[in-house]
């Protein structure tokens, strides 16, 4: 492997380990809250309706697929195709953020306020933190919109790294979907 590729891979791996540690900490906390409480959701709360979170899951997974296709197209040196998939990833990413907005207003409408205790804290807090990372991810996608004009080695490296980060966000959401909403 070329040294630049190796450096890029290593740096991205370390970055993803850092992100994973951050969310692992959150999930560890969640596990403790849940195992410490007799009822979940706590008294007075109901489970969140699954429709909206499922739709979010669908959006972010499909966007991951497009992101993957964008990377494959870049590596195959097809800039136009890669850009098309990049646009699609970006649009679906924005749509995901929109559904998150709906989720928050839906929670509020059903009487689950930020300050309504630990159940609400987890719903809001974790989705906020994830959303903040998605915004960061959207930023990197926008950056790709600017630089993905050629298929030089350095562009390919950038696309690969953004792809990894985007998948990472998808995986975290998937874990959140199953542990916070479904379970």
């Amino acid at each position: 492997m070329k040294r630049a590729d190796l450096q890029s891979n290593l740096a991205m791996t370390v970055t993803l380990i850092m992100g994973a540690m951050l969310f692992t900490t959150l999930f560890m906390g969640y596990a403790i809250y849940r195992s410490a409480s007799t009822y979940w959701p706590p008294m007075g709360f109901a489970k969140v309706a699954l429709g909206l979170p499922t739709f979010s899951t669908f959006l972010i997974l499909v966007s991951s697929l497009f992101c993957y296709l964008a990377r494959v197209a870049t590596q195959a040196r097809k800039v136009e195709k890669a850009r098309l998939y990049l646009h699609l990833t970006l649009i679906l990413g924005l749509a995901f953020m929109l559904t998150q907005g709906f989720l928050w207003s839906h929670l509020k409408a059903t009487g689950v306020y930020v300050s309504s205790g630990i159940f609400a804290s987890i719903l809001y807090g974790f989705t906020w933190i994830h959303a903040a990372h998605v915004i960061l991810g959207l930023g990197t996608l926008l950056y790709l919109e600017i630089v993905l004009k050629n298929t030089s080695d350095s562009t390919i490296r950038k696309v690969i790294n953004v792809e990894k980060f985007w998948h990472f966000l998808g995986i975290i959401w998937l874990i959140m979907y199953f542990t916070i909403f479904v379970l």
Binding site: R3, A4, L6, Q7, S8, L10, A11, V14, T15, I17, M18, G19, M21, L22, F23, T25, L26, G29, I32, Y33, A36, P42, G44, F45, V114, S115, S116, G117, I118, F119, A120, S121, Y124, G125, W128, I129, R157, K158, N161
Partner: protein
């Protein structure tokens, strides 16, 4: 990400690109050094204010008192006292030790000692400094807030650190500052890990790296893994404070559905225990190298030192519970954490014995870097031994939260890391600035630090053993502690002395910078790569990337016929 990939970058020409927004690891190292020394002074002043209050409660602080606390006639008021120990701890750990040991030496030594032209990602490196800078600005600003800076201790346990305990904005600023600092540290970590793996000069295997690099590298790995844990903790704490979530609120303070204050302690120490090794590993590495250099013989068991340091790194991730023995953990857990804690003694003892083996029968040169290194051996020995009392559950139940703990971590962290840092500064100053420091003043600085330092920290161990708790504004309202007043005065006087002797260092540093005699390429006569090039090095370090042919500690080889008692890493190992 724009990468250096070891090619030669054009030299910057404007003032801004040369000294401010510099991509050059040597300049960034110096930025971190200035930054760290500034905060060391600030944190040191706070320490003196704390010490004064403990020895002379109710007496105005001399000279500066009226300026700092006009409303209380120069006496440190109780709420300011809490702010002072909080900010002292925070500043010393994150804003003084980290920038000097990791920011300055990491940046300076890694590329030079492994024969690279710069870090793998120079731009990330630059950003790392400026994030640290921003973080420092936020922290300093918090000192001027209406309700003052954070006052929930450097550990910022809830409920002290939630809106119930700290209604002012100071604690929120603290969280933001720490988060920004975390970003800076992790950026550095990405860079260090990648650089060490990919940019070592041809021929340099991992065990041909100086132990300094080993220490810095392991530190970077721990940083990358555990700083994000603290990041998660302070994010949740900030959400609790600003947006009204209740992650860490329990009981009456949580209106419905209970959070868990103790959870924060777990999160904090999962990060916090590795953090103490993050701070000490670079110092261990530096000391391991310097002991060999100035004993004029190879580092005893260098490979096992590197492996022992690695073992400590791994084990340090598994022992955090020893900070929480008194939180009503199940005995099964406390026993396990105790056992794991004791296990760390094994690798620690290995490299400690290696240090002694290194100086054993060496022809020791007592230059200032060596004096400071020997100082580390002594104080770290004491610090490590006191750790055993704290790691044992039965004794810790008594000693927890007393000044014994404060003494312990000042010996391990303040003393060892500080002395190690000074050793490094005296050692690399000639390379960094191309000037020699004054050796007489350096020796004066050493003894002026070493002797009072033991007065301060050993005194702390004693008052802690005598039962004095930490973080109390005026301990002597308790009759049983009145008998400890004399030792407290002794500690304070020692601290003031030690503080005064730091002026010698500052004078020496500034004077040598301006007027010091020009440094030769290799003033200490050692063979690692950075000493093969001019002092200070040119912008791209190495005109030609060196080829490494032997280890970093080839000193005192009887087969050497060159007239020197050491050989450079670029020379073929001389054999009989």
């Amino acid at each position: 990400m724009s990468g250096g990939y070891n090619e030669i970058h054009p030299e910057p020409t404007t003032f801004i690109s040369k000294y401010l927004i510099s991509f050059d690891h040597k300049v960034i190292a110096k930025q971190f050094l200035w930054y760290g020394i500034f905060f060391l002074g600030l944190g040191g002043l706070m320490a003196l204010l704390i010490r004064w209050t403990l020895a002379y409660p109710g007496v105005p602080f001399p000279v500066l008192g009226n300026l700092l606390f006009p409303d209380s006639a120069g006496i440190v008021p109780p709420d300011s006292y809490a702010m002072l120990f909080t900010m002292h701890g925070t500043i010393m750990i994150f804003y003084a030790i980290t920038p000097i040991l990791i920011g300055a030496f990491g940046n300076y030594c890694i590329p030079l000692m492994i024969g690279a032209r710069d870090m793998a990602f120079p731009m990330l490196n630059m950003l790392s400094f400026w994030f640290a800078f921003l973080s420092g600005v936020v922290l300093i600003t918090s000192l001027f807030l209406p309700l003052g800076a954070a006052s929930g201790a450097w550990t910022s346990y809830p409920t002290l650190s939630t809106m119930i305990g700290s209604p002012g904005a100071g604690q929120t600023f603290w969280c933001v500052a720490i988060f920004l600092f975390g970003i800076s540290s992790t950026m550095g970590a990405v860079n260090y890990v990648t650089t060490v793996i990919t940019l070592r000069a041809p021929g340099m295997g991992y065990f041909d790296m100086p132990l300094t690099i080993w220490g810095l590298w392991l530190t970077a790995i721990l940083n990358a893994i555990f700083v994000p844990v603290l990041g998660a903790g302070v994010i949740l704490l900030t959400l609790d404070r600003v947006l009204g979530t209740t992650f860490f609120l329990a009981g009456a303070s949580a209106t419905s559905g209970s959070g868990d204050p103790v959870l924060f302690q777990h999160v904090f120490w999962i990060f916090g225990h590795p953090e103490v090794y993050i701070l000490i590993l670079p110092a261990w590495g530096i000391v391991s190298d310097l002991l060999s250099f100035f004993s004029r013989k190879p580092a005893f068991g260098a490979k096992s030192t590197a492996l022992a340091m690695t073992a400590v790194t791994v084990l340090s991730t598994l022992v955090y519970g020893h900070h929480m023995f008194t939180t009503q953990m199940s005995p099964l857990l406390t026993q396990s954490f105790m056992t794991l804690t004791m296990t760390i003694s094994i690798p620690s003892a290995i490299f400690f014995a290696n240090w002694l083996g290194t100086i054993w029968k060496g022809s020791i040169r007592f230059d200032s870097p060596m004096l400071f290194s020997l100082g580390v051996v002594f104080v770290f020995g004491l610090g490590g031994l006191t750790g055993l009392h704290l790691g044992t559950v039965t004794t810790d139940l008594y000693l927890h939260d007393t000044y014994f703990v404060v003494g312990h971590f000042h010996y391990t962290m303040a003393a060892s890391v500080l002395l190690g840092g000074f050793a490094g500064i005296y050692f690399w100053f000639p390379k960094m600035f191309g000037k020699m420091m004054n050796e007489k003043l350096a020796k004066l600085h050493f003894w002026g630090t070493m002797i009072p330092l033991n007065g301060v920290f050993f005194g702390m161990l004693m008052i802690g053993y005598g039962g004095m708790h930490r973080r109390i504004y005026n301990p002597f309202v308790y009759d049983s502690l009145k008998r400890l007043i004399p030792i407290n005065e002794f500690v304070t006087i020692s601290a003031i002395l030690m503080g005064l002797f730091q002026i010698v260092f500052v004078i020496n540093f500034l004077w040598s910078l301006k007027k010091g005699p020009k440094a030769p390429n290799n003033p200490w006569e050692v063979g690692t790569l950075e000493w093969t090039i001019p002092s200070p090095p040119v912008h791209h370090n190495y005109d030609e990337i060196p080829v490494v042919k032997c280890g970093p500690h080839e000193l005192g080889n009887p087969n050497l016929k060159t007239g020197r008692d050491f050989q450079y890493q670029t020379e073929e190992l001389v054999q009989g």
